[in-house]
Amino acid sequence: MAGKAGDTDWRHTLAEAGPRERPEGHDGTPGEHAVGDGARIAVRRTHKLYLGGAFPRSESGRSYPVTSAEGHHLANAAAASRKDARDAVVAARAAFDGWSGRTGHNRGQILYRAAEMMEGRRAQFVSEVVDADGVSGERAETLVSAAIDRWVYHAGWADKFTQVIGGTNQVLGSYLSLSSPEPTGVVGIVAPPKAPLLGLVSVVAPVIATGNTAVVVASERAPLPAVTLAEVLATSDLPGGVVNILTGRLGEIAPHLATHADVNALDLAGAGDLATGMEEDAAATLKRVVRPEADTDWTADPGLSRITPFLELKTVWHPIGG
């Protein structure tokens, strides 16, 4: 009932507005009449999880407040539960065969597409980085550009890492010995809290470039760039389930990825105090673990540093004549 006055205004505008008042360059759909009179109801964004290619709310129905670097309330993000983490692992496992079975060339194209999509939403990412990190707009532009370039960088590796990491081995005896790298499987990623966009892309891109699938726990402090990145990935031809992004309390979600027997590897970049405990839990199921480093410089050239830890080398010996 509060909107009653607004409704009246809207009708008034509808009756008064002539074709001349339409903004230039628009095709004059009926909705145009209401543009610019200030009475429009805001379309608010709901920040959700990214699970199996869909955007569900948390199974628990909870959310938590996210604030800017200066302490202003920005939005409420979904607070994922243990069961959301379990569902994410199921989705990632289901997506693994299809994703790892694609050619590296095809995966590279899709990663490049993610860069294209990010470029199209550059302004949104810049404003989110400004809010999250309290940096200047100029600095945020640099960080967003670096994040986009990181996709392109790993898109390039997608069809080249096998040649660089694998190859023929010289052996004593009449055998041909070949080593070829294969993706490890489902990788649990704890994204770095300090670089909510560049750090996130830097840990996700190398994992999926080689054919792994990922369950990502976004920065607890600044999850909004991760939610926007999820929307980018959903429009990049990336099959559902290859990347699953959870937002929420790190201590509540991450440890369950370490104990889950169907997770094959962990990147603990943002695990902080939880890292040691998670590493211990991971040992029970022989997971590969990348440990966190003190103050990683996410703007530096990553090389193959996050590609090789999530690969398994398969070596084949074949008899040859002579």
Binding site: R86, H256, T259, H260, A261, D262, D281
Partner: protein
């Protein structure tokens, strides 16, 4: 819990047809049964499906569900080796955890019965065999009886027969009745489960009619489906069948079992059925003698949930056998 809610039109058995009833009498009886409120049945089923079973109760439910499983393989590709492997799994579902109970029975084609009987000797696990030209039931009565006789001679303790859906839908209830009675005779001491194939009956009214027809013709169990037709087991169809066996017990004192089969793949699904059994038929039916779940992939999910409850961590499907 002495009063069971009699939702969905209670059937009073006073007009039950005798063994000599004509087709006209059977038709009058079956079509005179109270109609099923389909919307109401679906609503009741989804309401019961929303119950949350947690922690210790869940552990108990999982063990009960494992004891109720008829571990099934009904494929053209079934080999003696596959049946033996499945039988070993039926007797000891989780070799890593001896406290895991065995399943109720294995369910195979008649020619595989003797293989399963040999593999399960002394284990206490029953051997059920589908018979009567499973799954379509499109064969002469002599062939169906020979099929049944072969399974019984092989040592099957339970026979899962299919009804002639064509005759049922065509209104020839007498033919369906006589076939069930004849197979009942041929089964001897073996338990008879009558498959209604609810997915082909069209309406829940027909499910109720087929269910009562099977009960009067001598079924020990009524079973929803073959698993070869979609939809297979559904909660509303099972609800209607549970109402029938409950009402039959209320008037005669005899208990007939119910077996949903096909499409039940997760622990959550299985527990939904157990909740429904408890709420509709009553606790007496919460036993392998009166409720079974026909399934193949369900068992692994039950075992994984069981391991999850025991260890507190999620297991990997890689650690459980696929067959």
């Amino acid at each position: 819990m002495t009063t069971v809610p009699m939702e969905g039109g209670t059937v009073h058995d006073s007009a039950a047809p005798g063994p000599e009833a004509s087709n006209a009498a059977l038709r009058a009886y079956l079509r005179g049964l109270p109609g099923v409120d389909e919307v109401g049945a679906r609503e009741r089923a989804s309401e019961l499906a929303a119950r949350s079973i947690k922690a210790e109760a869940k552990g108990t439910a999982i063990d009960l569900a494992i004891r109720m499983v008829d571990l099934t393989t009904l494929e053209g590709a079934d080999s003696p080796g596959k049946v033996r492997a499945m039988s070993v799994k039926a007797a000891r579902p989780d070799p890593a955890d001896p406290s895991t109970p065995p399943v109720a029975a294995v369910c195979v084609y008649p020619d595989m019965v003797s293989v399963a009987v040999d593999a399960l000797r002394g284990s206490g696990v029953g051997v059920a065999s589908v018979a009567t030209a499973f799954p379509s039931g499109r064969a002469p009565l002599e062939a169906k009886l020979a099929d049944t006789g072969h399974a019984v001679a092989g040592g099957a303790t339970e026979i899962d027969m299919v009804i002639d859906r064509g005759a049922f839908l065509g209104g020839d209830y007498r033919k369906v009745y006589e076939e069930i009675a004849a197979v009942r005779e041929a089964s001897g001491a073996a338990h008879l489960k009558v498959i209604l194939e609810t997915g082909e009956l069209g309406t829940l009214d027909n499910v109720r009619r087929a269910c009562w027809l099977a009960i009067h013709a001598g079924a020990d169990f009524v079973k929803t489906s073959t698993g070869k037709v979609a939809p297979a087991a559904t909660l509303p169809a099972t609800l209607v069948m549970l109402q029938a066996v409950r009402d039959h017990h209320a008037t005669t004192g005899a208990r007939v079992g119910v077996k949903p089969a096909g499409g039940i793949r997760t622990t959550k699904d299985a527990i939904r059925y157990l909740v429904m059994v408890n709420e509709v038929a009553g606790t007496a039916w919460l036993a392998p003698a009166l409720f079974r779940i026909g399934a193949s992939s369900l068992l692994n999910d039950l075992l994984m949930q069981r391991a999850r409850l025991a260890s507190g961590t999620y297991p990997s499907p890689d650690h459980f056998t696929t067959d």
